[in-house]
């Protein structure tokens, strides 16, 4: 490889690029919404796949029937798992799966030809699913309000703001991790193996299966890995398990991870696309 290959291809200027994205985005979102509506069966199946929190809730209810576990009594478990369900449904993203398919069968080529970065296209795909997701999440949020109103956000305005920022951060963090995982498909035959492993590790260390507080010895690891910032952190803020001070510190850590993952995923993506073009199709 010579120096020319390493050089980034000339950009049309950042301002022009951004203006173009801004102009195209509403249309991309409209297409995305239409797609979600067209493939509503597929969408619904993805949503139904998120059923584990309910099983875990049933399990912990049986466990907590004879006394609380740490800070968690039965009602706290209910609040926690409803929160997990809501945050997960709002921020989850299975793009690595889609990317891996598109890279393998070459569909990505058409996306690369468009005068807009494919990652914006992917982002639009998933942002446009948000209206449908809100529809699905709202009954859960209602249930959360009814069962746990007294705990929610500790009725604190600062925590409300932190929650919103943390949800945006969680969405971005999941999005960039998916780009990173999906980009593996550029280098190996299929990114499905790493993706499956990611799902497993994420389930444990994000607080999806078990509240991190009661995870025991593995907790130390959970606190430093990025997974908690994808799910547990917004959920804990939502159900009032974090004080405003702690929440603010964690928000900083979350956004640090967002920037780090964003930078890394873009680098890997770029290296991958360069390889991909080398196949000639």
């Amino acid at each position: 490889m010579n120096a020319a290959d390493d050089a980034v291809p000339p950009l049309p200027g950042a301002a022009v690029e951004i203006a173009r994205v801004v102009r195209a985005f509403p249309t991309l979102l409209r297409i995305g919404v239409a797609e979600v509506v067209a493939y509503r069966a597929e969408f619904l199946v993805w949503i139904l796949t998120t059923n584990m929190p309910l099983v875990m809730l049933a399990l912990w209810h049986a466990v907590a029937a004879d006394g609380p576990v740490g800070r968690f009594d039965q009602t706290q478990f209910t609040a926690y798992y409803l929160g997990v369900l809501a945050v997960r449904l709002a921020t989850s993203n299975w793009m690595a799966w889609q990317m891996s398919m598109e890279i393998r069968d070459g569909t990505l080529s058409t996306k690369l030809l468009r005068p807009i970065h494919p990652l914006f296209g992917y982002a639009a795909d998933h942002l446009s699913a948000i209206p449908m997701r809100v529809l699905v999440v709202s009954p859960i949020v209602v249930a959360l309000f009814v069962t746990s109103w007294s705990r929610l956000l500790r009725h604190d305005a600062h925590l409300t703001l932190i929650l919103i920022a943390s949800l945006v951060g969680a969405w971005l963090l999941v999005f960039f991790s998916m780009v990173l995982l999906g980009s593996i498909a550029f280098f190996v035959d299929s990114a499905m193996g790493p993706f499956e492993l990611w799902i497993g590790v994420h389930a444990i260390f994000s607080g999806y299966l078990i509240p991190l507080e009661i995870l025991g010895r593995v907790r130390v690891l959970a606190d430093v890995l990025p997974f908690r910032f994808m799910l547990a952190f917004p959920v804990e803020t939502l159900v009032g398990l974090l004080s405003p001070g702690d929440a603010l510190r964690q928000l900083a850590a979350q956004w640090l991870y967002v920037i780090l993952t964003g930078w890394l995923s873009l680098r890997v993506w770029r290296a991958g696309v360069r390889r991909y073009s080398a196949f000639g199709g």
Binding site: M56, L59, A62, V69, L197, A203
Partner: protein, 277 residues
């Protein structure tokens, strides 16, 4: 040999031969990518370890959950691991390929072959690295019974094995039903994930669900999507806690499932319109 017997015997040997050939092809295909093979094996191992964490946490805070001790729950997890190895090693890879065939219209090539299409598609692909999971499951069985300071009797082991066969049959039948859905709605690649997530319930003894909605959820997972039949009942059999009547009913239910699945598959195949139309 009377000809009445010769036909089914010839049929059986023909399909046994076919099975061997299909198996060899699948193995060769899997061994071809050696790095992938090793990586997949490692991933399977890690997954098994992850399966245990929730169980360890729950039994870290309580001696008993819903009437199950840690060792007994471990037997359920071992069954779960064993079946997941079967599901992900032998059942789902082939059947995921069918969905792809239906979407692209390449199922034509399978249908043209002079053998039963369901047999051909069901034995097309294997993932040998799942053997790791089977090893893990056996170790868990050993460890669990070691903790209980006893061994299952011969009768209990036999019932357990019968239930294993039954569980595989049910698992396979449900998968056939899922795949048949592809003939109607085409875009069902992700149904396998839904299936997997529902199957995940099987890592817990079904009794943990007894408090939910007055036991409705427990009924759903026993009769509609019978995960309980696949993991909890075999575990009960091995622990000697299953009575004969329940066992007989479970067996009957499993066979009924298989018959229904076969019929639905035939129906679905009749719907298939191939690539050109």
């Amino acid at each position: 040999m009377p000809s009445a017997l010769q036909a089914p015997l010839g049929f059986a040997t023909r399909y046994a031969g076919l099975f061997r050939v299909q198996m060899r092809m699948a193995m060769l295909a899997a061994m071809q990518y050696r790095v992938d093979f090793i990586v997949r094996g490692l991933i399977a191992f890690l997954w098994s370890a992850l399966t245990l964490i929730p169980l360890l946490v729950v039994f870290g805070v309580r001696q008993q959950v819903a009437g199950w001790s840690f060792a007994e729950a471990l037997v359920v997890v071992a069954w779960f691991m064993l079946l997941r190895a079967v599901l992900e090693g032998a059942v789902s890879p082939s059947l995921t390929a069918v969905v792809e065939h239906v979407r692209k219209g390449t199922l034509d090539f399978v249908l043209l072959k002079p053998a039963d299409a369901q047999f051909l598609v069901s034995t097309a692909k294997f993932e040998p690295w799942r053997v790791v999971d089977i090893g893990g499951a056996l170790i868990l069985f050993g460890y669990a019974f070691g903790m209980m300071h006893r061994l299952p009797s011969i009768a209990q082991v036999v019932t357990g094995l019968v239930f294993l066969a039954l569980a595989v049959l049910i698992l396979y039948s449900i998968w056939i039903l899922v795949v048949s859905a592809a003939f109607w709605v085409v875009k069902v690649d992700n149904l396998s994930y839904l299936f997997g997530s529902l199957f995940d319930v099987g890592r817990w003894p079904i009794d943990v669900l007894r408090g939910v909605w007055g036991g409705t959820l427990r009924l759903v997972f026993t009769f509609v999507f019978p995960v309980a039949l696949m993991t909890t009942y075999p575990a009960l059999a091995l622990l000697g806690r299953l009575d004969a009547k329940t066992a007989a009913l479970a067996l009957g239910g499993g066979i009924l499932f298989a018959v229904i699945a076969r019929r639905v598959w035939r129906r679905a195949l009749a719907m298939y319109t191939s690539a050109s139309s």
